[in-house]
């Protein structure tokens, strides 16, 4: 069975280590916060100017001056820090964030990512995504492996306008965990019950498959 959104988030939470500073994008990446093991300590960065993001506020805690990058009301943990957008992106672009998790429309076997624009459709803008992919030491992309018509989103070459080039190393989809290097996808794990053949079928980009592909563990 392909993973649910929550399961993708659960699997990505395994990429988070004790002491990490992590930036979680909007959508599935936001859910990752719910699955970080209780026995490790991490700091969440919100690119609008907060290091040390906490959970959503209670009704009584709501504060219009305190929002996350998705413009949602939020809280700050003890030991948090607020700063300007310039300082926030100096932090991101300077490579100080240990892990960035973000969504994508497409990735390709060269590590390119397209996540911000579908020409002819809506004009929204890239927000901080281009800075995040250019600056992060370590990026995990959370995305659907294919669209509803089983057309792959893991491509030989992205077709949509790029967010960044040659910057993605790890992808977690509803079907698999893959690394990207040497111009190819490398299959690491498969979703429980999903076969290697199914993954091959919905992966357009070059895919290296080792002899043994373990199931993800949760």
């Amino acid at each position: 069975m392909p993973l649910t959104r929550e399961q993708i988030a659960m699997r990505i939470a395994q990429e988070v280590y004790d002491g990490y500073y992590v930036n979680l994008g909007i959508g599935i990446p936001t859910l990752v916060a719910n699955y970080i093991p209780a026995d490790i300590q991490v700091m969440l960065q919100s690119e609008n100017g907060l290091l040390g993001m906490g959970p959503y506020p209670t009704e009584a805690e709501i504060d219009p001056d305190l929002i996350n990058a998705g413009k949602e009301t939020i809280t700050a943990i003890k030991g948090a820090a607020f700063f300007s957008s310039a300082d926030s992106f100096a932090m991101i672009r300077g490579g100080h964030v240990d892990l960035t998790v973000l969504g994508a429309f497409e990735v390709d076997q060269h590590g390119n990512i397209a996540s911000w624009m579908i020409p002819g459709k809506m004009i929204k803008g890239m927000g901080g995504a281009m800075d995040l992919v250019a600056g992060a030491k370590n990026i995990v992309v959370a995305m659907a492996h294919a669209n509803k018509d089983k057309q792959s989103k893991l491509l030989k070459q992205c077709t949509l306008p790029l967010t960044g080039v040659n910057c993605i190393r790890r992808v977690v989809t509803d079907y698999a965990v893959l690394d990207i290097y040497d111009g190819a996808f490398h299959l690491l794990e498969r979703a429980p019950g999903v076969t290697v053949e199914e993954i091959i079928e919905i992966t357009e980009g070059e895919l290296h498959v080792p002899d043994h592909v373990p199931e993800m563990k949760f």
Partner: protein, 235 residues
């Protein structure tokens, strides 16, 4: 307004010299930390042909969404405009020019404008539509693009507290783009929640020194929330 005292009493005074076709920076991230009263008066007075530098474009009916409705904006330099349906419409019809800029590049371009740095290199946007027609240069084996500084005629910003000399502090994530914008315009106008006497703000913790501020107006703020999210009370 004599000496170092920069307090003005009306929004009209705060915006003296503002004209059509100016370039203006507006602080805020979404609706958080925006100079609500200054935005409102420019809407009322109907200045048009404006080039706006602001991370977002407000929402329909509030913030810069008001200027959009009245077709006051000619060009919008932003990183994300997804909350504004009218923006999309005007942009597609060509009534509005949109220059989409990565958020970090936007912040750094504004800081550079205030800091006397005409241009800098960044990896952000290389190989993407943002990098088109920009100089590419390699440093230590990695490719970067050249980005130029931004400056403006007016900066309209929002702070939490000001002393009468214009020293400013911001609160939580309402800081965002306000500190850089304070430095990058000919005239910086700040709308604040509270004005105090010099010496009341701790000099170790001033976010924006008064040298950058030209006018201070005490505002009143609705502080509209875009995405009200809550959790249940903790047990």
């Amino acid at each position: 307004m004599t000496g170092l005292n920069k307090v003005v009493n009306t929004y009209e005074e705060a915006l003296a010299g503002f004209t059509n076709n100016m370039t203006v920076m507006i602080g805020g991230f979404g609706l958080c930390g925006i100079p609500e009263g200054l935005i409102r008066l420019i809407h009322e007075l109907g200045y048009s042909g404006l080039t706006c530098i602001s991370n977002n474009a407000g929402v329909d009916g509030f913030g810069l969404g008001l200027w959009m409705e009245k077709r006051q904006i000619k060009t919008m330099i932003s990183s994300y405009v997804g909350e504004n349906a009218l923006f999309e419409k005007l942009s597609i019809s060509g009534e509005l020019e949109a220059i989409l800029t990565p958020q970090g590049t936007l912040a750094e371009k504004i800081r550079a404008g205030g800091a006397g740095i005409p241009a800098f290199y960044t990896a952000t946007g290389y190989g993407t539509p943002v990098g088109e027609n920009k100089e590419v240069r390699e440093f230590d084996g990695r490719k970067y693009i050249l980005e130029k500084a931004l400056t403006a005629d007016f900066s309209l910003i929002k702070a939490w507290k000001a002393d009468t000399y214009g020293n400013l502090i911001y609160r939580e994530t309402a800081m965002n783009f306000n500190p850089m914008m304070a430095t990058a315009s000919n005239i910086t106008v700040v709308e604040v929640e509270e004005i105090v006497e010099p010496g009341e703000l701790d000099p170790n913790f001033i976010h924006t020194p008064g040298i950058y501020v030209d006018r201070i107006i005490k505002g009143t703020f609705e502080k509209r929330i875009e995405r009200r999210m809550t959790r249940k009370e903790d047990k």
